[in-house]
């Protein structure tokens, strides 16, 4: 994985499903569920059916076939497992791997598989299944959004049934992380678009297209048995209908709430629990750093100083959300607090503009996606920047136009967008990315970080890159979305962060009464 890890899948989902998909939060753990979990532990029903309300219905059941984020939400860790697991707290822990050895040069990874693991069909897990599973993600016809990050894999060998040897063409410190979203599927499985054959704690019970996806407990599971008997993902197309379903008890938990104003009805009501974590979704004013006047770092810094991010965040999210000073959320290992860099200061913004030769300001066109919160954010920027003499012309576009005009053709001056991914600072190491930020130091740091010998070295490099992009005001990072999960108070133990859209259901407990 080098600087050009563009998450194409993520963006094409944007074009297809627009707002819903991109709003999807790959969120990281901040708040633990422990407080709520303690209260209910005593009397939970081990065979309970838990209904999870979601807006993200999968298009099909295969995450290499463009199924959308909904399939990761329903299947990651629940139906399919991977060699490694990305926990809700953001750590990478061994999954189906019992033991790993890394060669001196970092180019050969040897994985010993867990013994006695079987697929839902009854077949045993073998090294061939793992090889097949990785190969289907990197195959030419794979639509996996993660394909490019596995591009350094040059070969996979299977010396025996329990051993997988992965050879790399270049060091890739993120390999275990990247393998955490490669589902291990049975190589004999036929139709993965409408069926499944994984090793997870649940098996697919019934998929009713347009409505629900039911998973039932896998009694032959190798690990700890789930604390419930059945999980049903109930799909909604409308957030209000979803909220009403929770109010009336038709669903037990909502995977992510997208507006602070719909939380009001659940807060301060003892029948519901509201948990707010920090997501990895960042609202960005992205400049086209290639074009005038945004190729001038002083102009970008001036704009960052002219905008009161705190007031904006408060307008959009009320008491929720977090301010960020760069593209890195607090839950990435290379986070440092950079909110002090180009903090809100109108006078110094004016001074910088003058130095840059724009004492009288200038005007620019802001390509604004037509869905919430972008239009309202655009209007806020318009009034803030007017105070330093910059005139913002708001051009409202659709998600599809954004994809073709901004993302593909780079035909824009500035735009608003939210970026959902976890660990995505690497975008700034790719000068061909839509925002065209090109700093050779950052490109090198990001390249070197992937080739680092250990995670400390990787973290050091990326922290450095993080500081540089903040000092360069490569983009203007407005705020970090909160990740809000609302549930009935009878239900506990769900993940609050849904990192990379995951929603592990196996620890959910529902009280028996």
């Amino acid at each position: 994985m080098t600087g050009n890890t563009i998450d194409l899948g993520e963006l094409s989902r944007l074009s297809r499903k627009g707002r819903r998909s991109i709003l999807a939060s790959a969120a990281l753990a901040m708040l633990s569920t422990s407080t709520a979990a303690l209260a209910q532990d005593a009397n939970f029903d081990p065979d309970a059916s838990v209904v999870i309300g979601s807006l993200y219905e999968p298009q099909n059941l295969d995450n290499t076939a463009g199924a959308g984020q909904g399939i990761n939400e329903a299947f990651n860790g629940n139906v399919y497992e991977a060699l490694f697991t990305l926990t809700d707290a953001g750590d990478v822990t061994p999954g189906l791997v019992a033991e790993q050895t890394i060669s001196e040069d970092g180019l050969t990874y040897t994985f010993k598989l867990r013994p006695n693991v079987t697929f839902h069909s009854g077949d045993p897990l073998t090294a061939q299944d793992v090889k097949h599973s990785i190969e289907r993600v990197v195959a030419p016809d794979s639509k996996s959004s993660r394909k490019k990050s596995l591009a350094t894999i040059s070969g996979i060998e299977t010396p025996d049934d329990q051993t997988v040897v992965v050879k790399l063409s270049a060091r890739s410190i993120s390999l275990p992380y990247n393998l955490s979203y490669v589902w291990i599927v049975n190589d004999a499985a036929k139709d993965l678009n409408a069926g499944e054959d994984g090793t997870g704690p649940y098996r697919l019970d019934e998929w009713r297209r347009g409505s629900s996806l039911a998973l039932s407990r896998n009694d032959k599971y190798w690990g700890t048995a789930p604390t419930n008997g059945e999980v049903v993902f109930q799909y909604f197309t409308d957030a209000t209908a979803l909220n009403n379903a929770l109010l009336t008890g038709a669903v037990d938990v909502i995977t992510s709430v997208q507006s602070p104003d719909s939380i009001a009805q659940f807060k301060d009501n003892p029948d519901f629990t509201v948990t707010a974590g920090q997501s990895t979704t960042k609202e960005l004013l992205a400049f086209n750093d290639r074009v005038e006047p945004f190729n001038n770092v002083k102009v970008r810094k001036a704009i960052a100083r002219a905008i009161d991010d705190k007031k904006l965040l408060q307008s959009i999210w009320g008491e929720y959300g977090t301010l960020i000073g760069s593209f890195v959320p607090p839950t990435d290992p290379w986070y440092v607090d950079l909110t002090g860099v180009d903090a809100y200061d109108v006078e110094s913004a004016k001074a910088l503009l003058k130095e840059a030769g724009f004492a009288d300001g200038f005007s620019f066109k802001l390509d604004t996606p037509n869905y919430d919160p972008h239009p309202i954010v655009a209007q806020f920027l318009q009034s803030e920047l007017a105070k330093v003499g910059i005139k913002v012309e708001i051009n409202v576009i659709t998600a599809n136009e954004w994809y073709t005009k901004v993302y593909k053709a780079h035909d824009f001056q500035a735009t608003l967008q939210e970026h959902v991914n976890h660990r995505d600072i690497v975008f700034y190491g790719n000068p061909d990315f839509y925002w065209g930020y090109n700093n050779p130091d950052v490109v090198d740091l990001i390249k070197e970080s992937e080739a680092a010998a250990n995670t400390d070295a990787q973290t050091a490099k990326l922290t450095e890159a993080n500081r540089i992009i903040a000092e360069d005001a490569a983009s203007n990072w407005l705020y970090l979305y909160p990740q809000i999960v609302v549930s009935s108070s009878a239900v506990t133990g769900y993940p609050v962060n849904g990192l990379n859209s995951q929603f592990f259901a196996y620890n959910i407990k529902k009280s028996g009464n």
Binding site: N370, D372, I376, Q379, Q382, S383, I394, V396
Partner: protein, 283 residues
Amino acid sequence: MTSLDLSTDRPARRHSLSLSIGLALVGLNVVVAILTLFWTPYDPLNASGGRLEAPSWLHWVGTDRLGRDYLTQIMIGARTALIVGTGAVAIGASIGVTLGILAAFATRLLDDVMAATLDILIAFPTLLLAMLVVAASDSASLWSAILALGLAISAIVARLTRILAKRVLRQDYIIASRTSGTSWLGVVAWHVLPNIWPTLSVNFALQFGLAVIAEASLSYLGLGAPPPNASWGRLLQEAQGTVYTAPVGSIAPGIALVALVIGMNLFADGLRDVGDPTRRRSR
């Protein structure tokens, strides 16, 4: 009072009622729209209020998420609505009446072709047509919305004009007028237009109301006037997420929209009763 007086009195009162309510509602809008050119309670970009404040003396209709005054936005929305309604009807009327009259004079074959084309255009959903025009132009603007709606209206007006004009052209006095040397242009100016005008004007008023709703729909979808030009449709869209916590944000622009459209419809109704001699006689 004799019974004869009563029969003429009653319809007269009816006319004045719908006409005057309609005029009052539309008039209020016009006054507000003109007022915004000189004065609004706040600068529309001024975000000095709190988030979603409830109505108060400072902000009569409360504030939006950014702390901007809703009343100011709604007042400017009235201006946008009037500009769109007037602009779209003006475009629709000029193209529609011209095409309709040409069709009425055309040869049988050409007339048939034009009539069929108009039917197809009318069958095409207005909003879809508007979206196409907006998509074809560089970026969404008030003018692309007006043009799109004007084109949609012109098809309806053209069909109506064609039918009405044909009916007039069949009358004996047209032949009389032609034989006495009046040119076709003169016939149109002296006989056709004055005769079809009462029906057309009622139609214009109705189309005006529809254009206002269509503009609100386009703005709701982000295809209308770009911010900061307030539009009721966009206000509704922006207030959608806060409908439970701050319902006034969605109710107020909704009422403004309904008031103008109902006002325009009542006005059209009254206009028809007053202006259409056939109806007056039939009552």
